[in-house]
Amino acid sequence: MATLRVPPAVPSPQEDCEQLHKAFEGWGTNEKLIISVLAHRNAAQRKAIRDAYQATYGKDLLESLLHETHGDFEKIVLLWTLEPSERDALLANEAATKWHPANRVLIEIACARSSQDLFTVRCAYHKQYKRSLEEDVAAHTKADFRKLLLPLVSAYRYEGEEVNMHLAKSEAKLLHDKISDKAYSDEEVIRVLTTRSKPQLIATFNQYNNEFGNPINKDLKSDPKDDYLAALRAVVRLICCPEKYFEKVIRLSLNKIGTDETALTRIVATRAEVDLKLIKEVYQSRNSVPLENAVKHDTHRHYEDMLLALLGSDQN
């Protein structure tokens, strides 16, 4: 499911950090060397390299990367090098403090991470920003969005597989009734979406489809321009089939005149060790071309090389 390719014999963190230091030395930067190391190490290995770099050269690897790389390549390398929880905390902080209704990064983080991972993000957030994620989300979002986003980022869903079919039926009906009344931000809707476990919700959505003949997202499309409804649809999608959600974001980001590198960078960096392979498969079947082709077509130079490496398609 992950696309990250790590060589069978990995050099020691000490060797790796020396290579990186070489890449920074002298005039210009050896981006290919950076990619050949960092884009082929998993999170634990990257952390070990960062620690070794700090111990050997007295500064954070991220600082050197910041100095020596630029533009979109810099952004993706920095994001990639961070530990997943730090990365999510950074993304969440940006999304919360610069929040606007069409921004769904908080929903991505809240719904596409496991309960335990989301909690680790909240811990990392405390450390990094000296506040809780919930405080910032609550303080910067308003009205219906806050009603939805605050419990979403505070959720600590049960992670077992058990499903209560009776409850799934009754909550499917509840959702259907509220949606029919256009009560999209009703407390009960929010309660179900933000507290039930993911298997329970998937069962509920299936019941919805069985009982009422439409997938719930179809019924949530009454106004395609409404950002709140789009947020609800994103919640449903991310819980049921995150790879489809991410494929769509990537597809839209590549279709734009000029690419939306922020979204592309974010998704490749956050899913390379999770389900980017699945996302690629969905992309291929939806667009009849491999994702790598679209990336090669729309991005350039080192940014393109880094993306391809993380997609598992480079020569290394």
Binding site: S132, L150, T195, S197
Partner: protein, 313 residues
């Protein structure tokens, strides 16, 4: 003889106080060994416990039920003492949903435990009951204070030293405005009130309450009306020792109900290793009597001994 009867009655009278006196009971078995007449006289003398149907002697069912509770006070406190704190907190929270314990227990646990302890309790809850505590609170508790409760149990407050003092001042003002403009019934569901109370760090909130007092000339509790949930939330965050000492006091009141009495065990067990000294001082200051004296006077047997040991007497 009369003294023996009296002391045995007292030993069995748990429902008047807390617990039974196991030592006296065991001693009586020795004393009254092979003396069925003594026991017969005791039975006819103890009309609360024993009665007759025609000529057949029987125990009062009501009394047996109460006695069961009193005998198990010691067992309960021992089991709770050994249990992992996370499991304890998880079970107490579960009782609120399924045994109709007062919702204030959830406020207490959500607001007086550290963020790590609350996380542990939530994990234990999931392991024990196959649901998250948030989903159960949201689903089972449909009162005006549900939103606040869900927010409180979902919290994972920052615990570091940093406080944005300007923000605390601003929020003290904002709370004042909301309190002025809301009806006191509506206050508990106000988004700003819930946001501030359920997401800000405890240090931040203490600063906010302090600014509130300076701005408005009185502590925020006085302006929260009869809103029990809000009052308890503020108290647990700002002055937990006071909250606990009052909870203990309610347990000792005349006619206290079962959950109130159980809070004596809960408070002492959960705070014995945390802030019991502070609670004792606060109790003494507030009620003019030492906690150990109240316990000695009102509780019995091994239950009493355990309580006294736990409070550090």
């Amino acid at each position: 003889m009369a003294d023996e009867t009296l002391s045995l009655k007292k030993a069995f009278s748990g429902h008047g106080g807390f617990g039974v006196d196991e030592t006296i009971m065991a001693a009586m078995v020795t004393k009254w060994r092979k003396q069925p007449d003594q026991k017969s006289r005791f039975r006819s003398d103890f009309s609360g416990f024993f009665t007759k149907i025609g000529s057949i002697e029987k125990c009062e069912d009501d009394y047996l039920l109460r006695l069961k509770t009193e005998f198990s006070r010691f067992k309960n406190i021992m089991v709770l003492w050994l249990m992992h704190p996370w499991e304890r907190d998880a079970r107490w929270m579960h009782h609120v949903m399924h045994k109709s314990y007062p919702f204030t227990v959830i406020v207490e646990i959500a607001c007086t435990r550290t963020s790590e302890e609350l996380l542990g309790a939530k994990r234990a809850y999931q392991a024990l009951f196959n649901h998250s505590v948030e989903e159960d609170v949201a689903y089972h508790i449909k009162e005006s204070y549900s939103k606040l409760l869900v927010g409180l149990v979902s919290s994972f407050r920052y615990e570091g030293p940093q406080v944005d003092n300007d923000m605390a001042k601003w929020e003290a003002k904002a709370l004042g405005n909301v309190i002025k403009s809301s009806g006191s019934g509506k206050l508990i569901q106000n988004e700003e009130v819930i946001r501030i109370l359920t997401t800000r760090s405890k240090r931040h909130l203490k600063a906010t309450f302090k600014h509130y007092k300076e701005l408005h000339g009185k502590p925020i509790e006085e302006d929260l009306g009869a809103n029990l949930c809000l009052q308890e939330t503020v108290k647990c965050i700002d002055k937990p020792a006071k909250y606990f000492s009052e909870a203990i006091n309610i347990a000792f009141k005349e006619g206290a109900d079962k959950p109130s009495k159980l809070s004596l065990t809960r408070v002492i067990i959960s705070r014995a290793d945390v802030d019991m000294e502070e609670i004792k001082e606060t109790y003494h200051k507030q009620f003019g009597v030492k906690l150990e004296d109240m316990i000695t006077k009102n509780t019995h047997g091994h239950y009493k001994d355990t309580l006294l040991t736990l409070i550090g007497k």
